[in-house]
């Protein structure tokens, strides 16, 4: 039994998801190999080698892997996976993109978005927007698994594994990268933040999101949003929290002007402490909130910023 963990990174830094994947993988085996695929990623491989529990890092450093094109990455992972019984990747837009290809090319099922490892072949995963929790067993020879990072602790950085270079180059002329519009922010990323403050339709427009900035600054928080706020164009898509957006589980989640639809709750109800600020005392968000404040957000937010 040995697990190939696919490192989550952006060619600049290794993401905390990787530490969480390693922690999840330790539930299967103590033989854990991390694959770093990207461009200019020597420092990332070195960072991955420090994760406690990792026995080896394989670095595939080539321009063809820079944009994580799934055609290239899947072919690479299929080749590397030959030596391992399990492949784990984060259920991020990168992992969700290439992992099902890996599964199909290996002719095995994929187990998506697991929140717990029961044993080497049995995993727990939410279905129906978290309204039900399924325990599933895979009889496939290789287990292809995507992991909900928010449900696992991060492995520490006290290891010292070796880094092995792999010069396999996989490309496809059928697909090419054109451009990216990436959100630049000095704030922590949603999936890594200890505190998140999210705005919904109640914010009324994009400009009003500045009301969240001062609070986020004081709390070192990331800023999130409901689907309604993204659909209305208040904020970009990468801020959406929920069943079909990002799944988060911070220490503190503050929902502002968000009603608490099941699809939103699916993305944040595992937060340690939930605060809801809403002018409607019947809003469903209050049924999951540890602390509810009924009031107009335009009054409450400036007061909150001042009180912190």
């Amino acid at each position: 039994m040995s697990v190939l963990v696919y490192a989550e990174h952006d060619n600049v830094s290794l993401k905390i998801e990787t530490n969480k994947l390693v922690h999840a993988a330790l539930g299967v085996s103590s033989d854990i190999i991390v694959l770093v695929a990207g461009s200019g990623c020597v420092a990332i491989a070195e960072a991955a080698a420090k994760i406690s529990g990792v026995s080896k890092v394989i670095l595939a450093d080539n321009a063809v892997y820079e944009h994580q094109l799934p055609e290239n990455i899947a072919d690479l992972v299929v080749e590397v996976a030959a030596d391992y019984s399990h492949v784990f990747a984060a259920a991020t837009t990168t992992g969700k993109n290439f992992m099902p290809r890996v599964a199909a090319l290996l002719d095995v099922a994929q187990i998506s978005d697991i929140i717990k490892v029961e044993s080497e072949d049995t995993f727990v995963r939410p279905i129906y927007a978290g309204s039900a929790i399924a325990t599933v067993q895979s009889a496939d020879t290789k287990k292809i698994v995507t992991v909900r990072a928010a449900s696992f602790d991060a492995a520490a950085n006290e290891g010292s594994a070796s880094v092995e270079l792999l010069d396999t180059v996989k490309t496809s002329e059928k697909s090419s990268y054109i451009s990216a519009e990436l959100t630049v922010s000095a704030r922590p990323e949603l999936t890594a933040a200890d505190v998140i403050i999210s705005g919904g339709r109640g914010m009324q427009n994009g400009e009003n999101f500045v009301l969240l900035n001062g609070i986020a600054d004081k709390l070192g928080a990331a800023i999130g949003a409901s689907r309604a706020a993204v659909d209305a164009g208040f904020v970009p898509n990468d801020m959406q929290v929920g069943q079909t957006g990002k799944i988060v589980a911070p220490q503190l989640y503050i929902a502002v002007g968000i009603s608490g639809a099941i699809q939103h709750l699916a993305g944040m109800k595992d937060s340690k402490v939930i605060v809801a600020i809403n002018k409607d005392e019947e809003a469903p968000i209050f049924s999951v909130a540890d602390y509810g404040l009924v009031g107009d957000l335009f009054d409450v937010l400036p007061q909150l910023e001042a009180a912190l």
């Binding site: 129906y128 309204s131 990268y177 054109i178 340690k272 540890d290």
Partner: protein
Amino acid sequence: MKILVPVKRAVDYNVKVRVKPDNSGVDLNNVKMAINPFCEIAIEEAIRLKEKGVATEVVVVSIGDKACQEQIRTGLALGADRGIHIETNTGVVVDSLQVAKLLQKVVEAEKPDLVILGKQAIDSDNNQTGQMLAALTGMPQGTFASEVVVADGSVNVTREIDGGLQTVKLQLPAVVTTDLRLNEPRYASLPNIMKAKRKPIDVKPVADFGVDMTSKVTVIKVEAPAQRVGGVKVADVAELVQKLKNEAKVIA
């Protein structure tokens, strides 16, 4: 250009499902079913490409028991030209890889230039089928699409990714999966619903496809999630801050 749109019959997104007392699954008796919302977005995109003169034919396909013909009819009422129903016995659970293998056979027979699927079904939340189909057919893929532009034998797909947006160019034929912002699906008009009744649906038993339907995934149990209990209402901001500091200890 021909577009194939696979659609899934799923629980309506407004329904809060309940787990069966024997933990064998969720109770779907008398529950409202609908077309998976992401598949609706996929149909809408295909129809718009047809209205723009880019596509000439839109074919919807669904795998499931007789009931999923309802969702095929919905697709036809929205403007698709014809349907294919791959019929399974009631109660049979088909996993994503099997769905992808069945769709692969449909692709081989129909030779579409574009296959548009939903990014995920809101029941199983798997988010796999499109990617698997792309791998099996050797087509390139553009997942989580918020914009699709077809030009000269290729398609540019703008994708919603965790860091923002990414645009890729794919050679046709290609697979696209839809995200929420791609479009806002229309409602079917009554005349179109009537017209859809006369559009053809080709029904084929799943056995005709020669795909191994024994799944390697076994569901051991399905449980209700741990219930989060609501807490207290605070009177004002001062009380909120005090509780977060001293009771919850989540802020300094």
